[in-house]
Amino acid sequence: MQHLSVFPTEFLPCTLLMIEFILNNKPIRLFEKSGMTLLDFIRENNRLKGTKIGCREGDCGACTVLVGTLEKEEVTYQSITSCISPLGNANGKHIVTIEGINLEKKLNVAQQVMADNFATQCGFCTPGFVVSMTGFALKMVENTNTNTCTEAISGNICRCTGYKSIEKATNDLEAKLATIQQSKQLAELIREGFIPDYFSSIPEKLKKINFRAWLNRTEGNFVANGTDLYVRQADALSEGNVNLVGEITILKGIAIEENRCKLGASTTVTEIAENESLQKIFPKLKAYLKLVSSEQIRNMGTLGGNFVNASPIGDMSIFFLALNSTLHILGETEREIPFQEFHQDYKKYDLQKEEILTAISFEIPDKDTKFNFEKVSKRTHLDIASVNSAAKITVKENTITVANISIGGVAAIPKFLVKTNAYLKGKTINIATVKEAEKVLQSEIAPISDVRGTNIYKRLLARQLFFAHFVTLYPEQIDLPSLTN
């Protein structure tokens, strides 16, 4: 990652408001407002009605489209929910709707396996599922896709089928992909009927778009990829231009230098989940992040967005709080602050109007240090936590030398458990220590009753998740029955 010593030229004013991209097989050049949602552009301006409106908050997946990004010679595809995606972010991309994956006279493979398994009933959610599944097949081209096709539809809600038929279809799709496992080239996917043949021409077409020159970044609110802002204020944002920071190179990237890891503020959750270095640092990383939203939203949601959203229950805030992270902020000058000091009060945080969050960094845990992330929500996936918690604990010769435990949903801010952590430091790791520490924990949280749960529940859940860290990380010393009896 670049060193951020000067104000990047990419922030400099730019008067052109043109957006240029490819929608299915059609080049688009326009002067639309960059804040308009991609969904409205697709359905209203282009009258492509296969992309459906289900909720306009990224929670149903009926509006799923694929976004293709040119990386070197190849285009890599990701699924997103177009309802909360600003049109400006389509700049320089290949946007694929259901119409863009239809073959001329027959069903493509994803469609065929759905039909074979009776996996479409009312048909309203169906295009979204097909797009997600086709996106899964396209991701195989990169050869990096270790997810299952079921995970690819984690952001698609169906109210008719009960999913069993859809699961059979995703299994069949995986089986069909396995038969062409040898070299999952784009050409092969085209030949086997996963996608139409125009996909092969897309890399060349994208190369011709010098999109950086056109991108408008100077007007309106800062928006990364919109997963939070467009849920809350889509109407207002749609009216004008937005200051898009999701694609700025210097805000992206994951770098490891010596014992520190630094992540750009516009790094997406997917980029974190798929990063091999981070997977080595956190062996259960993928399992943790599977609890964060859905594939479509993880493909868009950024670290910086999660931090400045400042929800007391933000998953990434809780995760990085426990890592004792440092925030890197750029304004007139560059400054660094401990992440624990960033959130000040409910939705209040230490960032001036002229400043932008650029990165977060943390010390890579050593061999004596263990990390765990817990989250409980009403629905396990694609839901906001009732309580979430992360722990980084260092134990040397049975003594806790450092405990960094964070917890969400029990205070006005994502809570770093200062007193509990202090209590744990220097104690022997055993049942009595954990039980006593839990009392300290209860003294420094103040949950309120809301739609995510009553305060009584949140206190009990806070206890259980606190216990869960120790039961999970130190099963030889700590067991649940001893803690709760």
Binding site: G50, C122, G123, R159, G162
Partner: protein, 749 residues
Amino acid sequence: MKNIDSYTHLRGESLFVDDIITRQDTLYGLVFDSPKAHGKISSINYAIAEALEGVIKIFTYKDILGKNQIGGIIPDEPLWAEEEVHFWGQPIAFIVAETEAIAKKARALIEIEIEELPIITTAREAKEKGSFINAPRSFRLGNANEALKKCKHIFEGNTFSNGQEHLYLETQGAYAVPMENGNIKITSSTQGPTSVQKMVAQVLGVSMHKIEIDVIRLGGGFGGKEDQATPWAVMAAVAVQQLKKPVKYILNRHDDLRMTGKRHPYDSTYKIGLDEHLKIIAYEVEFLQNSGAAADLSPAIAERTLFHATNSYYIPNVSSIVHSCKTNLPPNTAFRGFGGPQGMFVIESAIARAADALKIDKKIIQEANLLVENDTFSYGQIATKVEMKNTWNTAKKQFNLEKIESETAKFNAANTNYKKGISLMPITFGISFTNTPMNHARALIHIYQDGSVGVSTGAVEMGQSVNTKMLQVASQTLGISPNKVKLETTNTTRVANTSPSAASATADLNGKAVLKACKALIERLKVIAANLLNANIEHIVFKEDVVFATKEDVAISWEEVIAAAMLKRVALTENAHYATPTIHFDKTKEKGHPFAYHVYGTAITQVTVDCMRGTYEIDAVKIVHDFGKSMNLGIDIGQVEGALAQGIGWMTIEEIAYGKDGRLLSNALSTYKVPDVFSAAKKVEIIPLETQGNEMAILKSKAVGEPPLMYGIGAYFAIQHAIKVFNPKHKLQFHAPYTPEKVLLSLYK
């Protein structure tokens, strides 16, 4: 045969209301609704909003030329509030603007003052205050009061089951277009085209024939579009009547969630008495239905709760009563099961309570009381062709219940942090509209001169694949290949005076009408064919696009027969009417034979509870279901799986929450969670019970829409079982849904 819409569904080419390419002069509507749950409107100022550029007009009750009334069963629901508002989200006005965005801005500019009145949000509070929709209904069999005195074991208690949001993926909506002479054509996402037509005519003050309702398909209905698709279409029509321009209104999700009713929450009290052999001798139950602020379909739903209050059990002495309680919530409405699930939850809870107190397995009591041939239901119908025990015993045997139980016990002995639970859930569900006069349907069939066929019925396609079944009936009866048959949209000008697509009965009623029409056409065509083939009319067979004379061994193509019929001036169109025979019900006595037949089944549910976190997974649901002779098993199994997931959702994670002020708190998809792919049961196995089917069902293939939803109730009791294993001190509670919150609190209390 696959769903005939598969190809276009999968390609995103199927049309829903919002996908119709609109006329260029189309205007957009948006409701302004009450920001308070109950009160007198002291002032409203529309002036600023109406002055906004692009706003055409804001309609209120004063603009109505007919009646400001859309109540279906009871006329107690205005289209737009006049002096008072009775629920948060009650429509007050309708903004029509050049774009939806302008309408939204205008809505924010309307100023309203409401003098607040006391509000009621729960059924119990309504009952205490005497706030009811109508008089209570009560079914009686034997003498429960007397019988209870003689019972060895008596248990009583309370139960609660919460509401449920339909969450059809396609929100409510309509597109109304002016035609000539003041006629209006409306494309509506409704399960009840005739109700929409009737209400539009009533509110506009015009005759029904001036209003045409067309339904292409619905992106899910589940009962939520039976009655509550109507107001939006009516509002658009009022605007069209005055503005003479097309008006489109598609509700955004938040408005849809806030303004529409849901499955009824029920607060119930029961008393159950058993003899020494665990036979249930007596059952007394009082249901308090939270009906919301207007009747909607609540009285009919309350009635079905009584029909299913004893689920699959024979109980000789029953006394049941239901009160439709008027509260300040949006009027609650039809939802798959229509009050039946709420009734079944109470009897299952009563049995669970009894089993817990007697320290025996719940299934022993269930099994001892299962319905058998010639048992009497509390409403007087005698049970015939009963398959209850057959499904129960088949499930136990085919799924090896003993092994499931022993493996569960073994797992529970070996694990401290996770516990498994099991339950059995029998279902018995009556098929027919319980309001006998509604059990009819019609089909209009055209054979075009090239031999292709168009079929119109009153059935609305909403994912249940009723059109596929109609096509099967037509194609089989006419002996022609499916690609020769097209299912038309559901349109009130082609098929009039229809009952809504509801009560699981759509395929039966409309299918029987299609069958009748096709048979009549075949009879006419046989004469033509016999003539052409010079054969005996008795020997003519229509099969696979060919017309045979079996004995004479001669054949001719379907097309040739049709061409000949044209020349002979034979009618190639047939309209048939079907009304379910034998059913009747006397509401003054609350006795009769309301159902054409019953559907039976048994589900075994297995769950694992994470006792550290209070979360759970549904490991498996294993079902033996009575499909009769399924005419399309792929589609019918899809109905079972979908209904099951909805039932499990209702019992587990779907939690409706209203504030004390009557405001919906679970008002978005971020706060109301329906099952996703990961929360579905990991494994669903369905064995179709082998039976002879039922003549009253279409092609002996029994109705399948609603009954399997109630298998989902099994999830509640399986979770409860696992909790009890972890925490033997736990005092059972019957308060659905079993959210992770309630589970965790139960594990540690």
